[in-house]
Symmetry: C2
Protein backbone atom coordinates (compact mmCIF):
# COMPACT_ATOMS: atom_id res chain seq x y z
CA UNK A 1 0.00 0.00 0.00
CA UNK A 2 1.19 3.42 -0.65
CA UNK A 3 -0.24 5.81 1.87
CA UNK A 4 2.51 8.23 2.68
CA UNK A 5 2.91 11.26 4.90
CA UNK A 6 3.40 14.31 2.79
CA UNK A 7 4.97 17.52 4.00
CA UNK A 8 6.27 20.76 2.61
CA UNK A 9 9.52 22.41 3.65
CA UNK A 10 10.44 25.97 2.85
CA UNK A 11 13.80 27.52 2.12
CA UNK A 12 13.27 31.16 3.07
CA UNK A 13 15.88 33.75 2.21
CA UNK A 14 15.94 37.37 3.20
CA UNK A 15 18.05 40.40 3.87
CA UNK A 16 18.79 41.28 7.41
CA UNK A 17 19.74 44.67 8.79
CA UNK A 18 23.42 44.10 8.30
CA UNK A 19 22.83 43.54 4.61
CA UNK A 20 23.76 39.92 4.51
CA UNK A 21 21.76 37.25 2.82
CA UNK A 22 20.25 35.01 5.45
CA UNK A 23 18.06 31.99 5.78
CA UNK A 24 15.21 31.65 8.23
CA UNK A 25 15.54 28.60 10.47
CA UNK A 26 13.23 27.51 13.21
CA UNK A 27 14.30 26.03 16.51
CA UNK A 28 12.74 22.79 17.51
CA UNK A 29 12.71 21.40 21.04
CA UNK A 30 13.69 17.83 20.34
CA UNK A 31 13.35 16.19 23.72
CA UNK A 32 12.06 16.68 27.25
CA UNK A 33 15.37 18.07 28.42
CA UNK A 34 14.72 21.02 26.18
CA UNK A 35 17.55 20.46 23.73
CA UNK A 36 17.04 22.27 20.50
CA UNK A 37 17.79 21.63 16.87
CA UNK A 38 17.49 23.86 13.83
CA UNK A 39 15.29 23.09 10.88
CA UNK A 40 13.74 24.88 7.96
CA UNK A 41 10.04 25.67 8.39
CA UNK A 42 7.85 22.84 7.25
CA UNK A 43 5.09 20.54 8.33
CA UNK A 44 2.67 17.89 7.22
CA UNK A 45 0.15 18.76 4.58
CA UNK A 46 -3.51 18.78 5.52
CA UNK A 47 -5.97 16.55 3.80
CA UNK A 48 -7.50 18.16 0.74
CA UNK A 49 -4.95 20.91 0.81
CA UNK A 50 -3.08 21.98 -2.27
CA UNK A 51 0.71 21.92 -2.03
CA UNK A 52 1.10 25.65 -2.46
CA UNK A 53 -1.74 26.45 -0.06
CA UNK A 54 -0.18 24.11 2.46
CA UNK A 55 3.18 25.80 2.13
CA UNK A 56 1.55 29.17 2.70
CA UNK A 57 -0.44 27.98 5.69
CA UNK A 58 2.55 26.31 7.33
CA UNK A 59 4.78 29.26 6.75
CA UNK A 60 2.25 31.59 8.25
CA UNK A 61 1.82 29.37 11.28
CA UNK A 62 5.50 28.96 11.92
CA UNK A 63 6.81 32.37 10.99
CA UNK A 64 3.77 34.65 10.57
CA UNK A 65 5.11 35.36 7.09
CA UNK A 66 2.38 36.05 4.62
CA UNK A 67 1.90 36.89 0.98
CA UNK A 68 5.13 35.40 -0.18
CA UNK A 69 6.47 34.50 -3.54
CA UNK A 70 6.70 30.73 -3.21
CA UNK A 71 8.19 28.46 -5.80
CA UNK A 72 8.16 24.70 -5.71
CA UNK A 73 11.57 23.37 -6.61
CA UNK A 74 11.83 19.69 -5.82
CA UNK A 75 10.28 16.71 -4.07
CA UNK A 76 12.41 14.68 -1.69
CA UNK A 77 11.36 11.09 -1.37
CA UNK A 78 14.22 9.09 0.10
CA UNK A 79 12.43 6.50 2.26
CA UNK A 80 15.10 6.96 4.91
CA UNK A 81 15.12 10.72 5.00
CA UNK A 82 13.49 10.79 8.45
CA UNK A 83 15.17 7.69 9.79
CA UNK A 84 18.38 9.21 11.10
CA UNK A 85 18.94 8.53 14.80
CA UNK A 86 19.23 12.23 15.55
CA UNK A 87 15.69 12.85 14.37
CA UNK A 88 13.82 10.11 16.21
CA UNK A 89 13.38 11.89 19.51
CA UNK A 90 11.56 14.80 17.97
CA UNK A 91 9.45 12.55 15.76
CA UNK A 92 8.41 10.54 18.80
CA UNK A 93 7.41 13.67 20.66
CA UNK A 94 5.35 15.32 17.96
CA UNK A 95 4.22 12.89 15.33
CA UNK A 96 1.40 10.46 15.62
CA UNK A 97 3.19 7.97 13.43
CA UNK A 98 6.86 8.69 13.95
CA UNK A 99 8.01 5.58 12.12
CA UNK A 100 6.18 6.32 8.94
CA UNK A 101 7.92 7.62 5.96
CA UNK A 102 7.52 11.26 4.99
CA UNK A 103 7.93 12.58 1.48
CA UNK A 104 8.40 16.32 1.34
CA UNK A 105 8.06 18.97 -1.33
CA UNK A 106 10.56 21.81 -1.19
CA UNK A 107 9.43 25.40 -1.69
CA UNK A 108 11.66 28.36 -2.12
CA UNK A 109 10.60 31.71 -0.80
CA UNK A 110 12.25 35.06 -0.59
CA UNK A 111 11.25 37.83 1.70
CA UNK A 112 11.96 41.49 1.98
CA UNK A 113 13.42 42.74 5.22
CA UNK A 114 10.59 45.19 5.58
CA UNK A 115 8.04 42.40 5.50
CA UNK A 116 9.40 40.59 8.46
CA UNK A 117 10.82 42.16 11.57
CA UNK A 118 11.58 39.64 14.29
CA UNK A 119 9.75 40.62 17.45
CA UNK A 120 10.00 39.71 21.09
CA UNK A 121 6.99 37.47 20.60
CA UNK A 122 6.64 33.80 21.24
CA UNK A 123 7.61 33.43 17.63
CA UNK A 124 10.88 35.24 18.03
CA UNK A 125 11.99 32.43 20.30
CA UNK A 126 11.31 29.91 17.63
CA UNK A 127 12.86 31.36 14.50
CA UNK A 128 16.12 32.97 13.62
CA UNK A 129 17.87 34.46 10.63
CA UNK A 130 21.14 32.68 10.04
CA UNK A 131 23.91 33.77 7.70
CA UNK A 132 24.03 31.56 4.66
CA UNK A 133 27.58 30.54 5.44
CA UNK A 134 26.78 29.71 9.05
CA UNK A 135 24.08 27.13 8.60
CA UNK A 136 24.53 24.33 11.15
CA UNK A 137 25.49 21.06 9.53
CA UNK A 138 23.14 18.98 11.60
CA UNK A 139 19.77 20.38 10.67
CA UNK A 140 16.76 18.13 11.08
CA UNK A 141 16.24 15.34 8.57
CA UNK A 142 17.71 16.11 5.14
CA UNK A 143 17.23 19.84 5.52
CA UNK A 144 20.83 20.65 4.70
CA UNK A 145 20.37 18.90 1.39
CA UNK A 146 17.06 20.65 0.78
CA UNK A 147 18.72 24.01 1.35
CA UNK A 148 21.55 23.21 -1.05
CA UNK A 149 19.09 22.10 -3.63
CA UNK A 150 16.99 25.23 -3.18
CA UNK A 151 19.99 27.51 -3.50
CA UNK A 152 21.16 25.69 -6.60
CA UNK A 153 17.71 26.12 -8.06
CA UNK A 154 17.73 29.80 -7.22
CA UNK A 155 21.13 30.36 -8.81
CA UNK A 156 20.17 28.70 -12.03
CA UNK A 157 16.78 30.38 -12.26
CA UNK A 158 17.89 33.84 -11.26
CA UNK A 159 15.65 36.54 -12.65
CA UNK A 160 14.11 39.82 -11.63
CA UNK A 161 10.81 38.27 -10.70
CA UNK A 162 12.64 36.31 -8.04
CA UNK A 163 15.09 38.98 -6.98
CA UNK A 164 12.42 41.62 -6.52
CA UNK A 165 11.04 39.60 -3.64
CA UNK A 166 14.21 39.92 -1.67
CA UNK A 167 14.52 43.66 -1.83
CA UNK A 168 12.65 46.42 -0.06
CA UNK A 169 10.29 48.32 -2.32
CA UNK A 170 12.91 51.05 -2.73
CA UNK A 171 16.49 49.97 -2.98
CA UNK A 172 19.88 51.14 -4.16
CA UNK A 173 21.72 49.64 -7.09
CA UNK A 174 24.43 48.53 -4.71
CA UNK A 175 21.93 46.44 -2.79
CA UNK A 176 20.75 44.89 -6.02
CA UNK A 177 24.29 44.21 -7.12
CA UNK A 178 25.08 42.68 -3.76
CA UNK A 179 22.26 40.18 -4.13
CA UNK A 180 23.45 39.19 -7.56
CA UNK A 181 26.97 38.76 -6.28
CA UNK A 182 25.85 36.54 -3.44
CA UNK A 183 23.60 34.42 -5.56
CA UNK A 184 25.96 34.11 -8.48
CA UNK A 185 28.91 33.83 -6.12
CA UNK A 186 31.10 36.19 -8.09
CA UNK A 187 32.13 39.83 -8.01
CA UNK A 188 30.51 42.02 -10.63
CA UNK A 189 31.87 45.19 -12.14
CA UNK A 190 29.92 48.18 -10.88
CA UNK A 191 29.80 50.09 -14.13
CA UNK A 192 28.91 47.12 -16.25
CA UNK A 193 26.27 46.05 -13.78
CA UNK A 194 24.64 49.47 -13.89
CA UNK A 195 24.73 49.55 -17.66
CA UNK A 196 22.84 46.28 -17.74
CA UNK A 197 20.31 47.41 -15.17
CA UNK A 198 19.57 50.54 -17.15
CA UNK A 199 18.40 48.31 -19.99
CA UNK A 200 15.90 46.55 -17.79
CA UNK A 201 12.67 48.37 -18.20
CA UNK A 202 11.00 47.13 -15.03
CA UNK A 203 13.58 48.82 -12.83
CA UNK A 204 12.99 52.55 -12.46
CA UNK A 205 14.97 55.26 -10.81
CA UNK A 206 13.00 57.33 -8.31
CA UNK A 207 13.76 60.87 -7.23
CA UNK A 208 14.44 59.82 -3.68
CA UNK A 209 17.83 59.32 -2.15
CA UNK A 210 19.22 57.47 0.81
CA UNK A 211 19.31 59.51 4.01
CA UNK A 212 21.61 59.45 6.99
CA UNK A 213 24.49 57.63 5.36
CA UNK A 214 28.05 58.83 5.84
CA UNK A 215 28.75 59.02 2.15
CA UNK A 216 27.20 60.33 -1.00
CA UNK A 217 23.57 59.21 -0.81
CA UNK A 218 22.45 56.78 -3.47
CA UNK A 219 19.36 57.19 -5.57
CA UNK A 220 16.63 54.70 -4.78
CA UNK A 221 15.22 52.43 -7.45
CA UNK A 222 12.04 50.44 -7.61
CA UNK A 223 10.51 47.55 -9.53
CA UNK A 224 7.41 48.18 -11.53
CA UNK A 225 5.79 45.09 -10.09
CA UNK A 226 2.91 45.07 -12.46
CA UNK A 227 5.28 44.52 -15.35
CA UNK A 228 7.18 41.58 -13.87
Amino acid sequence: MSLINLSVDCVILGFDDDQKLKILLIKKVINKKGDIQYAIPGDLLDNDEDLLSGAKRILKNLTSLNNLYLKQFKAFGDPFRTKDVKDQSWLNMYRKNPKERVVTVGYLSLVKMEDYVPQASSFALDAEWIDLDKIPEDLAFDHNEIISSGLRYLRTQLDHKIISNLLPSKFTLSQLQYIYEILLDEKLDKRNFRKNISKISVIKKTKEKQEGVAHKPAYLYTYEKEKL
Copy 2:
Protein backbone atom coordinates in the same frame (compact mmCIF):
# COMPACT_ATOMS: atom_id res chain seq x y z
CA MET B 1 -4.34 13.39 9.16
CA SER B 2 -2.17 13.53 6.19
CA LEU B 3 -1.72 10.10 4.73
CA ILE B 4 -1.78 10.53 1.01
CA ASN B 5 -1.43 8.30 -2.01
CA LEU B 6 1.73 9.14 -3.83
CA SER B 7 2.36 8.31 -7.45
CA VAL B 8 4.85 9.13 -10.15
CA ASP B 9 3.95 9.98 -13.74
CA CYS B 10 6.43 10.00 -16.58
CA VAL B 11 6.57 12.19 -19.64
CA ILE B 12 8.52 10.09 -22.12
CA LEU B 13 9.73 11.59 -25.34
CA GLY B 14 11.42 9.86 -28.22
CA PHE B 15 12.14 9.95 -31.89
CA ASP B 16 10.25 7.67 -34.17
CA ASP B 17 11.25 6.47 -37.60
CA ASP B 18 9.75 9.42 -39.34
CA GLN B 19 11.97 11.72 -37.32
CA LYS B 20 9.23 13.42 -35.40
CA LEU B 21 9.31 14.01 -31.71
CA LYS B 22 6.73 11.82 -30.03
CA ILE B 23 5.41 11.04 -26.62
CA LEU B 24 4.71 7.58 -25.26
CA LEU B 25 1.16 7.16 -24.01
CA ILE B 26 -0.43 4.08 -22.57
CA LYS B 27 -3.97 2.92 -23.19
CA LYS B 28 -6.10 2.22 -20.18
CA VAL B 29 -9.27 0.17 -20.22
CA ILE B 30 -11.51 2.39 -18.15
CA ASN B 31 -14.65 0.32 -17.76
CA LYS B 32 -16.12 -3.11 -18.28
CA LYS B 33 -17.32 -2.23 -21.74
CA GLY B 34 -13.70 -2.01 -22.73
CA ASP B 35 -13.58 1.71 -23.49
CA ILE B 36 -10.10 3.06 -23.49
CA GLN B 37 -8.43 6.27 -22.47
CA TYR B 38 -4.91 7.50 -22.98
CA ALA B 39 -2.60 8.40 -20.13
CA ILE B 40 1.07 8.88 -19.51
CA PRO B 41 2.77 5.96 -17.75
CA GLY B 42 2.55 6.25 -14.00
CA ASP B 43 1.44 4.41 -10.92
CA LEU B 44 1.41 4.45 -7.15
CA LEU B 45 4.69 4.40 -5.34
CA ASP B 46 5.55 1.38 -3.23
CA ASN B 47 6.22 1.70 0.43
CA ASP B 48 9.85 2.35 1.21
CA GLU B 49 10.57 3.08 -2.40
CA ASP B 50 12.52 6.11 -3.47
CA LEU B 51 10.81 8.39 -5.97
CA LEU B 52 13.34 7.79 -8.71
CA SER B 53 13.43 4.04 -8.11
CA GLY B 54 9.66 4.01 -8.25
CA ALA B 55 9.63 5.88 -11.51
CA LYS B 56 12.07 3.38 -12.98
CA ARG B 57 10.14 0.38 -11.73
CA ILE B 58 6.81 1.67 -12.99
CA LEU B 59 8.22 2.62 -16.35
CA LYS B 60 9.74 -0.80 -16.76
CA ASN B 61 6.48 -2.49 -15.82
CA LEU B 62 4.36 -0.44 -18.14
CA THR B 63 6.64 -0.01 -21.10
CA SER B 64 9.60 -2.36 -20.57
CA LEU B 65 11.81 0.68 -20.94
CA ASN B 66 14.92 0.42 -18.87
CA ASN B 67 18.03 2.35 -18.01
CA LEU B 68 16.59 5.74 -18.71
CA TYR B 69 17.70 9.18 -17.86
CA LEU B 70 14.88 10.34 -15.63
CA LYS B 71 14.55 13.83 -14.32
CA GLN B 72 12.06 14.92 -11.70
CA PHE B 73 10.46 18.17 -12.77
CA LYS B 74 7.46 18.93 -10.60
CA ALA B 75 5.02 17.64 -8.02
CA PHE B 76 1.31 17.97 -8.69
CA GLY B 77 -0.80 18.20 -5.59
CA ASP B 78 -4.17 19.63 -6.49
CA PRO B 79 -6.55 17.76 -4.15
CA PHE B 80 -9.05 17.49 -6.98
CA ARG B 81 -6.70 16.26 -9.64
CA THR B 82 -8.25 12.77 -9.64
CA LYS B 83 -11.80 13.88 -8.97
CA ASP B 84 -12.96 14.55 -12.51
CA VAL B 85 -16.02 12.54 -13.47
CA LYS B 86 -14.27 11.04 -16.48
CA ASP B 87 -11.67 9.39 -14.24
CA GLN B 88 -13.90 7.75 -11.65
CA SER B 89 -14.73 4.61 -13.56
CA TRP B 90 -11.11 3.59 -13.94
CA LEU B 91 -10.27 4.48 -10.35
CA ASN B 92 -13.15 2.33 -9.14
CA MET B 93 -11.96 -0.60 -11.23
CA TYR B 94 -8.33 -0.58 -10.23
CA ARG B 95 -7.73 1.32 -7.04
CA LYS B 96 -8.36 0.07 -3.55
CA ASN B 97 -9.23 3.55 -2.37
CA PRO B 98 -10.55 5.33 -5.45
CA LYS B 99 -11.81 8.31 -3.50
CA GLU B 100 -8.54 9.13 -1.87
CA ARG B 101 -6.45 11.92 -3.04
CA VAL B 102 -3.31 11.20 -5.04
CA VAL B 103 -0.34 13.51 -5.21
CA THR B 104 1.98 12.76 -8.08
CA VAL B 105 5.57 13.58 -8.92
CA GLY B 106 6.32 14.21 -12.57
CA TYR B 107 9.40 12.74 -14.21
CA LEU B 108 10.72 13.54 -17.61
CA SER B 109 12.48 10.93 -19.65
CA LEU B 110 13.85 10.79 -23.12
CA VAL B 111 14.55 7.67 -25.05
CA LYS B 112 16.51 6.77 -28.09
CA MET B 113 14.65 5.15 -30.91
CA GLU B 114 17.01 2.25 -30.89
CA ASP B 115 16.17 1.47 -27.28
CA TYR B 116 12.54 0.91 -27.85
CA VAL B 117 10.94 -0.74 -30.83
CA PRO B 118 7.24 -1.36 -30.34
CA GLN B 119 6.53 -5.02 -30.83
CA ALA B 120 3.46 -7.10 -31.40
CA SER B 121 3.63 -8.13 -27.76
CA SER B 122 1.06 -7.69 -25.08
CA PHE B 123 2.79 -4.43 -24.40
CA ALA B 124 2.32 -3.15 -27.92
CA LEU B 125 -1.40 -3.20 -27.29
CA ASP B 126 -0.98 -1.00 -24.31
CA ALA B 127 1.35 1.76 -25.40
CA GLU B 128 1.72 3.98 -28.39
CA TRP B 129 3.93 6.74 -29.68
CA ILE B 130 1.86 9.82 -30.40
CA ASP B 131 2.97 12.93 -32.27
CA LEU B 132 3.44 15.81 -29.89
CA ASP B 133 0.86 17.86 -31.72
CA LYS B 134 -1.68 15.06 -31.71
CA ILE B 135 -2.01 14.42 -28.02
CA PRO B 136 -5.65 13.79 -27.10
CA GLU B 137 -7.08 16.55 -24.98
CA ASP B 138 -8.84 14.23 -22.60
CA LEU B 139 -5.99 12.27 -21.10
CA ALA B 140 -6.51 10.75 -17.68
CA PHE B 141 -6.48 13.03 -14.64
CA ASP B 142 -4.35 16.14 -15.14
CA HIS B 143 -1.98 14.41 -17.54
CA ASN B 144 -2.36 17.06 -20.22
CA GLU B 145 -1.16 19.61 -17.73
CA ILE B 146 1.70 17.37 -16.61
CA ILE B 147 2.84 17.00 -20.21
CA SER B 148 2.76 20.76 -20.81
CA SER B 149 4.70 21.33 -17.67
CA GLY B 150 7.26 18.69 -18.62
CA LEU B 151 7.75 20.13 -22.08
CA ARG B 152 8.14 23.62 -20.68
CA TYR B 153 10.73 22.28 -18.28
CA LEU B 154 12.55 20.54 -21.10
CA ARG B 155 12.65 23.63 -23.29
CA THR B 156 13.97 25.86 -20.58
CA GLN B 157 16.50 23.37 -19.24
CA LEU B 158 17.80 22.17 -22.56
CA ASP B 159 21.29 20.76 -22.24
CA HIS B 160 23.45 18.02 -23.65
CA LYS B 161 22.87 15.72 -20.73
CA ILE B 162 19.22 15.67 -21.70
CA ILE B 163 19.64 15.71 -25.46
CA SER B 164 22.11 12.86 -25.48
CA ASN B 165 19.36 10.55 -24.32
CA LEU B 166 17.26 11.18 -27.35
CA LEU B 167 19.89 10.28 -29.88
CA PRO B 168 21.34 6.99 -30.94
CA SER B 169 24.86 6.40 -29.69
CA LYS B 170 26.24 7.55 -33.05
CA PHE B 171 24.48 10.37 -34.74
CA THR B 172 24.94 13.03 -37.39
CA LEU B 173 25.11 16.72 -36.67
CA SER B 174 21.96 17.19 -38.69
CA GLN B 175 20.09 14.90 -36.35
CA LEU B 176 21.40 16.85 -33.40
CA GLN B 177 20.45 20.13 -34.98
CA TYR B 178 17.02 18.78 -35.80
CA ILE B 179 16.39 17.97 -32.16
CA TYR B 180 17.42 21.43 -31.10
CA GLU B 181 15.15 22.96 -33.69
CA ILE B 182 12.18 20.92 -32.53
CA LEU B 183 12.75 21.60 -28.88
CA LEU B 184 13.54 25.28 -29.28
CA ASP B 185 10.89 25.62 -31.97
CA GLU B 186 13.08 27.69 -34.27
CA LYS B 187 15.29 27.19 -37.30
CA LEU B 188 19.02 27.27 -36.65
CA ASP B 189 21.77 28.22 -39.04
CA LYS B 190 23.74 25.13 -40.04
CA ARG B 191 27.18 26.73 -40.02
CA ASN B 192 26.70 28.57 -36.78
CA PHE B 193 25.26 25.48 -35.15
CA ARG B 194 28.27 23.42 -36.16
CA LYS B 195 30.65 26.06 -34.93
CA ASN B 196 29.00 25.94 -31.54
CA ILE B 197 29.02 22.17 -31.41
CA SER B 198 32.71 22.08 -32.15
CA LYS B 199 33.30 23.99 -28.93
CA ILE B 200 31.48 21.39 -26.88
CA SER B 201 34.08 19.00 -25.66
CA VAL B 202 31.77 16.10 -24.88
CA ILE B 203 30.77 15.70 -28.50
CA LYS B 204 33.36 13.88 -30.58
CA LYS B 205 33.61 13.15 -34.25
CA THR B 206 34.15 9.49 -35.09
CA LYS B 207 35.74 8.11 -38.23
CA GLU B 208 32.54 6.45 -39.31
CA LYS B 209 30.13 7.74 -41.88
CA GLN B 210 26.52 7.16 -42.71
CA GLU B 211 25.91 4.38 -45.19
CA GLY B 212 23.26 3.80 -47.78
CA VAL B 213 22.01 7.35 -48.03
CA ALA B 214 21.35 8.96 -51.39
CA HIS B 215 23.58 11.91 -50.72
CA LYS B 216 26.97 12.71 -49.35
CA PRO B 217 27.29 10.59 -46.22
CA ALA B 218 27.64 12.47 -42.96
CA TYR B 219 30.27 11.78 -40.36
CA LEU B 220 28.90 10.24 -37.20
CA TYR B 221 29.43 11.88 -33.84
CA THR B 222 29.14 10.56 -30.33
CA TYR B 223 28.78 11.82 -26.77
CA GLU B 224 31.49 11.02 -24.31
CA LYS B 225 28.90 9.94 -21.80
CA GLU B 226 31.26 9.69 -18.91
CA LYS B 227 31.94 13.42 -19.16
CA LEU B 228 28.33 14.55 -19.15
